[in-house]
Symmetry: C2
Subunit: 348 residues, 2 copies
């Protein structure tokens, strides 16, 4: 099978994960830009033990290989702050579109996503996602602005400021902009600036979410009522996550788990596995898809009883999506299958 | 906004809806084919009050406007039955791919969906979905096999039989093949025939589901943990649906409702609205997207307190998707916004 899934990374949590790698100290996170309209200094408040080093780069489209080094740039602050307001811009605003790239390879993009990017003068996004966009599109753009794995608030603000300054801007992410992603943040920041969504003709271009990409990779595990839960407690208290898991695990939902594990929150993984096992038998099929569409892609179908032990393996990290079957889900010929219920009505 | 959402129709329920229009009698539902390998007579068991008239047509790709009349064709039976088994085919099997078309217009298809269809010798699907595929792709296919709004079991079997007979076959649906759709049914029927998924290199090509297409149309209503529930009790008992709604409405999930209403099950809609109101305030924002991507597309943002009254309007039927906000969801500038939680950590 050539399918790939991705778009699994809730970036707030990627910063989290990145932190763990970077240690527990606080380092400066700045942004450098050439040609940007309102590059703000930024530092991500990415968790309780410190913030990660990060940077931003902006470049004309001719410089398509624009990854940045950490810590460069202007002044820093303890939190990402939105500073410019709508009154700071004199120009007629341009347009702002939030584009979902889908699974993480050009093949998974919709035609509309491609044309939206082709129409944009500036394309803004996390470096990894910018790199996913086909060269023929990025080469057409007047500017690319990308930052590494942190700073989604300042990056979103950057996109908005560029639109308010008169440019047609696309802000991109993998998966769908409505799934643990930036569509909401863009609207929140627009409001905080005293702007409106209408002012920049704000549009969301949907993409294939990780649940669907990974579901396809696993077979047909999500064919009935289904739920998505993120295990990151960076932006949602763990008690709420636990309560949600209890509520849905006792019903017939299949459950897609985003952001399942990071070094800083092993406990969330353990707790989630325990809650699921309280409600579902140990032989419930579970699909694990790691690093989909990347060189280290790996897929495994296991059981709920074995799931927790995968937390300490390379298979489960922030780039992994986990699909937990319901009581009817079974494994056949290497695929997970959740019946829709046809077998109760039809003879086959 | 030019977005469109679709892919909202659970076909088992479309047949349901179609029934209501067709009356309560039982009429013959047959299939005619020219050039097909194993067209089965079929009658949909679409509900308790009768079955709808339906037919199937198969044509060479040169006859691209192939809609069929009802009731034509061969013998009928009281239920759709899978008849041919793997032993009935001598050829080396071809490939079978289940392709999600996304929102319901060519713009919403992924590049991979297009190339998968272009590679297929036969394309099989519900007439409305076949019509969504760009002409340059359908014209390349050796054969199109389409049936109107019923018979998804026999149509899926038709696709499988053609693959087992040696053809490369794509079976298509709107939205994503894992969302109330045919990926699971294809695997179930393969198994029932004594075939395997590997034998036909079975693959699922994901598409943008209706929840995401409609979420994009509404703004950013689905940015946090979310659940999909179908209100059709054709394949799931209503008690289970009610139990699921109670479980999730009491938690912080946004809720996407598929198949919200049909004439035959007004009560399900009323019951669902009552359950949601037991758990959430009347001023909870609710987005309604009807007939997305079609001529009669309509979008409205209302409140939970008003939702039930829409059941008797043209806005809510089987082609409608409803998105119910959580306790944090608000309406701003004509958009629904569900905060991800950044506002608890960042200053903007």
């Amino acid at each position: 099978m050539s399918d790939a899934c991705g778009g699994t990374t809730d970036e707030a949590d990627s910063a989290d994960e990145h932190d763990a790698d970077a240690g527990t100290g606080t380092t400066t996170c700045g942004a450098t830009t050439d040609g940007g309209t309102a590059a703000e200094a930024a530092e991500t408040d990415a968790g309780s033990t410190g913030s990660s080093a990060c940077g931003a780069s902006s470049s004309g489209a001719s410089d398509s290989d624009s990854t940045s080094a950490c810590g460069g740039g202007a002044s820093s602050d303890t939190e990402e702050k939105v500073e410019a307001t709508v009154d700071d811009f004199d120009a007629d605003p341009g347009r702002l579109v939030a584009v979902g790239l889908g699974p993480g390879h050009a093949e998974g993009m919709t035609a509309r996503a491609k044309s939206s990017l082709a129409d944009a003068e500036h394309i803004v996004g996390y470096t990894t996602y910018i790199d996913l966009i086909p060269d023929e599109i990025t080469e057409q753009a007047d500017e690319l602005y990308d930052t590494p794995m942190c700073g989604e608030v300042s990056r979103t603000e950057e996109a908005i400021d560029r639109a308010l300054a008169g440019h047609d801007v696309a802000i991109v992410g993998s998966g769908d902009p409505n799934v643990y992603a930036l569509a909401g943040l863009a609207l929140e920041i627009l409001e905080s600036k005293g702007a409106t969504a209408s002012m920049v003709d704000f549009e969301v271009v949907p993409g294939v979410p990780a649940a669907q990409s990974c579901g396809a990779r696993l077979g047909a595990p999500l064919v009935n009522d289904s739920v998505s839960v993120s295990l990151s407690d960076h932006l949602t208290p763990m008690e709420e996550i636990e309560s949600r898991l209890h509520a849905v695990a006792g019903e017939g939902f299949t459950i897609t788990i985003y952001n399942p594990w990071s070094r800083k929150r092993r406990e969330n993984w353990e707790t989630a596995c325990e809650i699921l096992r309280e409600h579902r038998p140990d032989d419930t099929p579970v699909g694990i898809v790691h690093g989909a569409g990347r060189d280290d892609e790996a897929v495994e179908i296991t059981t709920l009883g074995e799931l927790e032990s995968y937390g300490e393996t390379d298979l489960v990290d922030m780039t992994t999506t986990v699909v937990v079957g319901n009581e009817d889900t079974y494994v056949w010929d290497g695929r997970m299958v959740t019946p829709r219920g046809y077998e109760t009505k039809y003879d086959y």
